[in-house]
């Protein structure tokens, strides 16, 4: 245990040494951390509650009021503080994004490891399933799924429906990535040796394969979270969110359907969108940098004077 711990600490130190020098990664970490802090400490960051109507001296609700001392980001159509809704919305958006991302990661890793390790018909079945899922347009499929699941009155909250649908549809790219990694790892000497001394499948996967692919799983999860947050915002914008627990997408749905654009209430429709860009950009930068550090690619070419190893930032795993 002690030995493992020292190794882990050394790895972490090396990692931090590399990461510290990467500007993109630091920016990404900053964006993600600030959003997390805003979500966690939401009640201490605002005087109001998200559903509270802000009134002027005469007791009238301030509807569509521009930013002022009372409301730093102005108010919405019902006179509620936009800033307060924004930081409380962070909780909803990020909860859905993170949970859906974790589900996708779990399912993707499980299928990826099983397919890569055991091969054969399991592998075949899995790869054909991902082939099929990749071709079906995902937004219409999700809309249809969410709309019908809600109609079935299953007594699960609208947010849970969103989390499950997003999580159970976005695991395919993870599964493919993990599978290809497992395929190369299982051919390595240490796995062959472990097998030769009689180690069981479960032992090999847990002790030899999982530790090798864990960093990649983490990087991929960060990327999937950004996809999940974007997808959630879109579905919520189309009216599939929970109006009683508004996420940033729900806020934009309110802003758009209650004519914030024609009323010139930019303080109502700009902040939620910027917040979505903030967190998803943060996750993409962080995820890309993590992936690059684990998987450097050669990108120099023959029409250049010198060739060197550099890694390119590619945006998230398959987007939509």
């Amino acid at each position: 245990m002690n030995e493992h711990w020292t190794l882990f600490k050394r790895n972490l130190q090396n990692f931090w040494g590399d990461f510290r020098g990467n500007r993109m990664g630091l920016i990404g970490a900053f964006l993600v951390l600030t959003a997390l802090i805003a979500a966690v400490f939401a009640p201490s960051l605002s005087r109001y509650s998200p559903s509270e109507v802000i009134r002027d001296e005469n007791g009238r609700g301030l509807t569509f009021a521009p930013p002022s001392v009372h409301a730093p980001l102005g108010t919405d159509d019902a006179g509620r503080d936009v800033w307060t809704q924004l930081i409380y919305g962070a909780r909803i958006s990020m909860t859905v994004g993170f949970l859906a991302g974790f589900i996708a990661m779990f399912v993707g890793s499980l299928f990826g490891i099983t397919a890569g390790y055991f091969g054969g018909w399991v592998d075949n079945l899995l790869m054909r399933t991902t082939d099929v899922l990749l071709v079906i347009p995902d937004l219409p499929l999700m809309i249809v799924l969410v709309a019908t699941l809600r109609q079935m009155q299953l007594k699960i909250s609208p947010l849970t429906v969103l989390i499950l649908v997003i999580g159970l549809l976005y695991w395919t790219s993870t599964a493919r990535l993990i599978r290809s990694q497992v395929l190369t790892i299982k051919e390595r000497q240490f796995v062959a040796r472990a097998r030769a001394i009689g180690a069981g499948h479960f032992h090999i996967i847990r002790k030899h394969i999982l530790p090798q692919i864990m960093p990649l799983i983490v990087a991929n999860t960060v990327l999937i979270i950004s996809t999940a947050i974007l997808v959630e915002s879109g579905l919520a914008f189309l009216g599939l969110g929970d109006p009683t627990q508004p996420s940033w997408g729900t806020m934009l749905n309110f802003a758009f359907s209650r004519n914030a654009v024609t009323n010139g209430a930019w303080w109502f429709y700009l902040p939620p969108g910027l917040a979505i860009v903030w967190i998803s950009l943060g996750c993409v930068l962080l995820g890309n940098v993590l992936e690059e550090m684990l998987n450097p690619r050669l990108t120099g070419h023959n029409l250049e004077d010198e060739r060197h190893m550099v890694s390119i930032p590619a945006p998230g795993a398959s987007s939509d």
Binding site: R128, D131, V132, L134, V135, I136, P137, D138, L139, P140, L141, I143, V144, L145, A147, T148, Q151, M152, Q153, S226, L230, S233, G234, F237, L238, G239, L240, G249, L252, A255, F256, V261, T262, G264, W266, Y269, L270, P272, G273, I276, V277, S280, L281, V284, L285, L298, T299, G300, H301, N302, L303, E304, I312, P313, A314, P315, G316, S318, S319, D320
Partner: protein
Amino acid sequence: MNRRDYLIRKLGLALVTIFVVVIINFLLFRVLPGDPVRSVIGRNVRISADTQQALREQFGLDKPIFPDQFLDTLGQWARGNLGVSWSLRKPVNEILLSKLWNTLLLIGIGQILAILLGVTLGLIAGWKRKSAVDVGALTFSLIAWATPTFWLGIILLAAGSTWLGLPTGGIVSPANVGKPLYTVIPDVAHHLILPTLTLTILYLGEYMLIMRSSILEVLSEDYILTAKAKGMSHWQVLRKHALKNAMLPIVTLIALNLGFTVSGAIYIETVFSYDGLGKMFQIALVKQDYPLLQGAFLLLAISVIIANMLADILYTYLDPRVKAT
């Protein structure tokens, strides 16, 4: 694998996927509470229990769901009969067909612009790696990726209508409906500017990135070094040796992007009240018009699947390596 096997595999995949979509579509809407008879006669019409029972028998709803009802529905769909919309009281297939062209117009122009711009910029970015164009292209595509489509649409809508006086929605001004083409076409073009711009910005980033990494890969090949050693200029190498090969992934991307394009159309048509399939989909969702939702899903999914298959087939003709191996 020779080309015939490859084609058979792709065809098989497309058929299996269509089958999966059909099953999903059938099951999802069958498990909904409420009576399918309602989907035929409309939701708010009151009819007696006897008449309902008679209708149920007429439409075979008293038979078991599988296989009778399933095969029956399948037969209806195969003949293009998608039921009647609850909210619009018209056959779903008629509604969808009338909106199809509007959507094709929007996504067609958007895609062509995005491909032309994306390929050009991606080519320059990859060739002049680390130049201002490259850094700009990468930053742009990263931010474009992280931006929700509908929000970009809302911003362009607000900016375009306030500062440029562009129309806020629709395809043609009500005053110009039924006017001769020389009045209608400029008006439609005027209405198309903002939605097309949103779509182009959205897709541009991805084409740029793929073209960039594709050209980087091609330029690392030995035959490029050979071409350069022969004394060809950079431009000649790019034009004669690199461009054709680097364009290949774009073909696949166009196909893979179709699903993404459909998502974009749903958001953009909603934001710009553009009268196409995407807007129909959103209306069906809001009004809980299940026959329309079901029909739209079926049409969108099957078109994307078939387009994907066609792109795969096209690919075998463009890339001789698929044949050889």
